[in-house]
Every structure is written in structure tokens, then in C-alpha cells.
Amino acid sequence: STVVLVFQAPSLKSLEREDTTSEFRFSIGRGDKIRVGEALGKWQN
């Protein structure tokens, strides 16, 4: 079985426009094992 996540997150474009100071970055790599609750990606405020 497979799960696909599709989501909106802060991007570089919003940097130009708003006070956002960071874009979303994945903290994983292809082939990594991951468990429920572990971070997929982060952004700074």
C-alpha cells in the first residue's frame, strides 16, 4: 500500500510578498525509512 500527500506550504514566492522568512524544505531523502510522527519537512517563521 502507498500513501501520497499533496499539500501547500510556504514557498519562495511568498517570501517576496509577505513577511515570511523561510520556505518549506523536506528533511528526508529518497529511500529513507520513516515512521509516524517524524518530520517530513520544516519551515522557519
Partner: protein, 352 residues
Amino acid sequence: TSFVKKAQASSRARASFSSGSANNSQGNTFLVPGATVATLLMLGALHARRLYDDKKVEEAREKGIEVEFKPDVKVICLCYIFDNATSTFHFKVLGFLDKHYLEEAALPLEEYTSLREFFVRTLKQGSRPIDHDPHCLVSPVDGIILRFGELKGAGAMIEQVKGFSYSVSSLLGASSFLPMIAEGDVHEEREDSAVIENTKKSWWRISLASPKVRDTVSSCPMKGLYYCVIYLKPGDYHRIHSPVDWNVLGRRHFSGRLFPVNERATKTIRNLYVENERVVLEGLWQEGFMAIAAIGATNIGSIELFIEPELRTNRPRKRLLHSESPEERVYEPEGVGVMLKKGDEVAAFNMG
């Protein structure tokens, strides 16, 4: 007798076509019936010997003599080689399972009455600590990361493997609330983006009021739309959790096939994830759009939604009448839907 006669007749017929090999054919004629007769005689002899032995044991018991078990060489070999080796092997396999799966299961192994129950097991409290950083998005499942990235370009394609791609709209449904824009409007969108961002939910309301089929070729995803594909191996923890705090506004069920989703299948079956049965949840979180697609596979029977227990998937009739249009449901109250916290259980992959 009739079988032997028929065999002889067919052999003679063959011999008439090849006169040179007449002697060989004559030899084969008696080989098959001879072997059959010998086997029958041997079985008869063995049965007669067993009857004789049983009669002797019965006579001995009548006289008050209890026959003792006398293991021969064959039994001793079986006991010492196969039994011991097998039990040791079982112990090692169970030890491996114990380390990787049983240790985390909420209940002891004997509490699970079937493999199906164990497959959808819950875990002990605290086995999966949730990263509560408000600026992070967590994994909804235990699995292996297959693909991830930002959706860009016409059609917003996700690469299955090199050469095989599928569009996000096909995966989530043509009436998805994906924040897409027409390709020609990309530049206009840059100027209007401030307005769009200020009214984040407006596109949702418009989509909900009049769901339309989007042309996946001529439309592009809005900037900042990401995806992640996670594969769950057989034996992994098969429950799906919420990746963030969000409001689930709708559900879409595609009654498809149940192809395997292993590495080999992804390389050979085009549009594998779009063909398989799946349940899609869509909604909103603090940064905008959010969707989770739970895709079934051969080892998965059905997908269970905890926020909608009455939903039934993997129904034979539905699979026979496989169609493009999914079954949809909008969660009430409209615009709010079902609120989920980060780490909450959302769904489970069932066996059967």
C-alpha cells in the same frame, strides 16, 4: 484390461506409421501397465502387512501385553535433524518478529485472534512520538520515501518511475480542490497573488459550489504545492495518522483494482497509483490545501476511515463496475468539516 487393450491398439497404430521402430513400440506397450500393476501389488502388500501387524498388536493387548514404541534409525534421524533444526529456525524467526513487530504492538501476540487483527494492530502508547514543532509537517505512516518534491509545470505530474508519470488531478480526482491556475494566467497570477493569499479559502468555496473538470494539460499548480509518496511494506504498521492540524472537508473513493505496488510493479504497470482503489481526503490547514490519498494494493483488502466508519471499500460489485467517476462526500458542517489534530488516527489499511 480395457486400458491395456487400448494401449496395445494405439501402440500398434503407431508402429504401422514407423515400421523401423516396431520393436521399441512393442517394448513401451508393456512398460506402463507393468509399472501400474507393480505399484498396485506393492500397495496391496503394504496394506496386508499393516493389517497383519494391527491384528498382532490386538492379540497381544488381549493377552495383557503392552507393545512398546521402538524407534528405528529413520525415526531417530528425523527427530534429531529435522525436528530440532525446525524448532530452532522457528525460534529465530519468531525472535526476529518479536524484536521488530511484537515489541511495539499494543497487545500481547496471543490476544490477536487472526492475522487480520494483527495486521491492523495499534501500537503501545508513546511508540510513535509526534514532532509537535508548529513549523513542521510529520509523516502520516511508517514506510519508505519513494518520491517527493514540488509540483511544477503543466498537468502537475508526479513521476512514478523514470518514464512513467501520472497527474495529481488523476490521482485526487478531476473535481479536486487543487489550487491550479490556467497556464496562460501564470504571469497574471503573480500580480493577483496577494489577493488570493488574503482570501485563502475563496478558491475552496468556489470549487465546492461548482466542481469542474480541470484540463490537466493546460493548467499548472500554484507555487508552493508539494507532494510526498510513501510506500508501506507488508508487515509495517498500517494505520494512517494526521500529518498536521487540519480540517477535512471532503472524501473521494475511487473503486479501482488492487495491483501490487512493490518496486517491480511500479516499473511495469503504467499509472499504477491511478488504477488502484484509493480513498482521498481533502481539506485545509494553516498554509492552504492538504490532501491524503490512501492507495490500496494486493495485500490490502479494504481501507477503513475512522472519521467515516460506514464507508465500505473493496466491494466486488464496485470493482466489476470500475468507472472513472469516484464516489464523493462533503463533510458537514460545510466549510469546517472534520477537525483533526497532528498525530490523530485517520484511517487504516485492512487485510480483507
